[in-house]
Symmetry: C3
Subunit: 328 residues, 3 copies
């Protein structure tokens, strides 16, 4: 693994999931691997889990961590090529990425979708510009996606780890996993939902899960992410017999960035969960209680949300371990 921008960078998903579980069982086993290696964590947006879990994972591996909030610790970065920089961006990503790449062995980047221009968001400009300019042919600097405009692969890997752990406990061979849209008053990116589809489709292809997506009409995700997943517009029907309910809000992809409905009946309550096969509830967090999910679902033994967040540490550690092993 050089970069970790999406599932496409993973050569062996089963091995990566197992590596996460190994890290969880023995967090400090590879502490020599990161000695005198530095990861820079660059945040264009706020973060709680990603910030702390990635820092922790890096430290478990013996790495040094440097954190920078762009536009707060430093200044805004221009991403477009060939422009006359007479606006509010004081530095170009060509310089910023190259310079950070000289100080760091690995760079993590968080940059959300702006939800204004779909093509621009889906081009993943920030990730690609950093990947292009951070290193050189002779000294590549791996880029780790800490949630980008269209994907959140460290979350998806943690989700895979969580389902794998839970499956084993429950002795489920090929559980039914349902991604359900949840209501929200603010327009949120599609990144977590896209990424979850991408990774669950891979797990479905290898026979590890059955994967279903449910959402109101108008909330269809991009075809390249939905892939062959079964899409059901009736939430109750989708929930029937489900082993894992994965809740998430996203704004419309087709009417880009818009909130088309806030229909509260899509919020997950115990009545919904009772339709499942004693299913577990998952959410990437943060979650607005009683708006998206009822208190009694989140506080029930059926909720996996804390374990899922805890597994972020091990997904980051699995990825960083493989990246460190590939560094010269």
């Amino acid at each position: 693994m050089t970069n970790f921008l999406s599932l496409a960078d993973v050569t062996d998903l089963n091995a990566l999931i197992q590596s996460g579980l190994d890290a969880k069982a023995n967090p400090f086993a590879d502490q020599q691997l990161g000695k005198n290696k530095t990861i820079g964590l660059i945040f264009f947006n706020s973060s709680l889990r990603t910030r702390l879990s990635t820092q922790k994972a890096a430290q478990n591996l013996g790495m040094n961590v440097m954190i920078m909030n762009v536009g707060q610790d430093s200044w805004g970065l221009e991403m477009e090529e060939g422009v006359l920089m007479n606006g509010d961006k004081a530095e170009h990503v060509r310089e910023a990425a190259a310079v950070i790449g000289r100080y760091c062995d690995v760079i993590g980047i968080r940059a959300f979708a702006e939800l204004k221009d779909r093509d621009k968001d889906y081009q993943e400009q920030v990730m690609h510009q950093f990947a292009r300019y951070a290193g050189t042919v002779r000294r590549p600097v791996p880029i780790v996606n800490l949630e980008s405009a269209t994907r959140h692969p460290l979350q998806s890997l943690a989700d895979c780890i969580t389902i794998e752990e839970s499956k084993a406990k429950l002795s489920l061979a090929r559980p039914k996993v349902v991604l359900t849209w949840l209501p929200h008053f603010k327009p949120l990116p599609q990144a977590v939902a896209n990424s979850f589809c991408e990774w669950m489709n891979a797990r479905a292809a290898s026979g590890d899960v059955e994967f279903v997506v449910t959402h109101p009409e108008g909330y269809e995700l991009a075809p390249e992410f939905v892939g062959n997943a079964k899409v059901i517009y009736n939430q109750d029907e989708a929930f029937a017999g489900a082993d894992y309910i994965y809740g998430k809000n996203w704004s419309s992809y087709t009417q880009y960035g818009q909130v088309l409905t806030q229909d509260p009946s899509w919020a997950v309550t115990m009545d919904h969960m009772n339709l499942t096969n004693n299913g577990k509830f998952m959410h990437c967090l943060p979650v607005r209680r009683n708006l998206k999910v009822a208190d009694n679902v989140l506080d029930s033994p059926q909720s996996l949300v804390i374990e899922q967040a805890a597994n972020r540490e091990w997904s980051a550690q699995a990825v960083l371990k493989e990246i460190l092993q590939n560094l010269a």
Copy 2:
């Protein structure tokens, strides 16, 4: 010691003070104790001394430190139970605390009083919610108070250490310690004053000091903090024969959060200090010079304010050492 929220969490105050003095004499003696242990420092409010001294103390003990400014690095947290989260708080403390607790072995929290609703402030909701949700029965995650709505125990412990050191140098058996209110134009929390009362009352009960509080009428502190301390409304009378003058402003507790007077005659000048028994001046800092205390007091050899702040490192180290020793 599991949590360190207030004096009630201290089992042996003399031993804790001595542990701070030992750390000061030999800062790196326990560097193996914190190996592969991580403290998360979570700031709802600004900080200089607490931020740096706690980080330093943790590093002296060999710990890793992760720092997060809530609402700046991440987003606002909902503290109330059972609410529909459709406002500006994106995450509930139930999730945030539990997740941070999974990444950290110890959590420090700073969250000031809002000074709007006395009952709410005095319930210490933020500390208690973190203490409730950060860990589990099987894996408790100690919470360290980095200044809460009503207390600042790391400051009070540093104050005890400072007085202990100074007493020994000056060969004072049972010095007279006076907490005096100081004028200020802004409404400040009662936390430092409350906490100082709590800890000095304990020192008075064991015969280590005599403790007196002086302030204008209307600035009476909460009864549970004043305890048996002698309250004198005449500042000159209170200062007579004092060995230690501890200055602090606070807003009214009875007319909650209000500035009732800014009477400049309560500011500590050399004239005031001359009423004492060649007394030392203490203040937790930051201090507004010439508004609360005259330059020539702060710059005189009678001032202990820098030593007091320096002792914050050792109070934090004593607390963290005991917490680490109690971790499995």
Copy 3:
């Protein structure tokens, strides 16, 4: 070296440059030197390169690093003596510096010019107040300038290292170095230009370079910085035969803090570079592309800007190494 505030603190410039090159060749050779030593990096202003490179250099030397953004992590600091502190500054530098000095073995400070009051800026109040109050005679706490109102010596040292490296590669005995003003719409400090003059004048005095400054009329730098450098108002004439072009914008010193012209003909293009002796282009970054320098200059093999920024790590490491060696 005790403090590193300006060139005046350097006893042997050649040795310091060599120390930087040695660190670059062998970054972790002195990792025992900084063990259990802590540097505090205090930012009154934003930073990217300085923040990351100084942190990295300190970690290479085995130091612990604590970072604080004044006015964001903490509150504003009063720098004036004897004032009644009834404004927006909650703490005086006398206390802040002394306290930070008790937690840190070395302190780095970044504080830009305000460009309102020339005398005030040129007195370098922030640096001098920290240098005055951070330590004591018995325990001095070295102050490192991370860019002050009138100087940026870590940048200048990196510039010297960069020229030295490049000179050796190009077998240049005494290259012609030209500092040129560049256009910008915002008033920027003179710090980088001042400092570059100060250090290049020293290099010129020892016969290592020939140094020329070029800028529009009205942009004359302070006499104490320009020194004996040759000033040419015609940019083309100055560029003729140059080996190194060092670009930088600054606001007027004589009409203090004003933007007198934004003449785009002063921006460096390939046409300008073609006047030189196949010269290299340097800039401290951040640089606004196509406003100050054309894309094709920055992206050409003639550009040294990334190497220059990379050398910030080694200039910081050379300085910190010497400071650590001088600590008791």
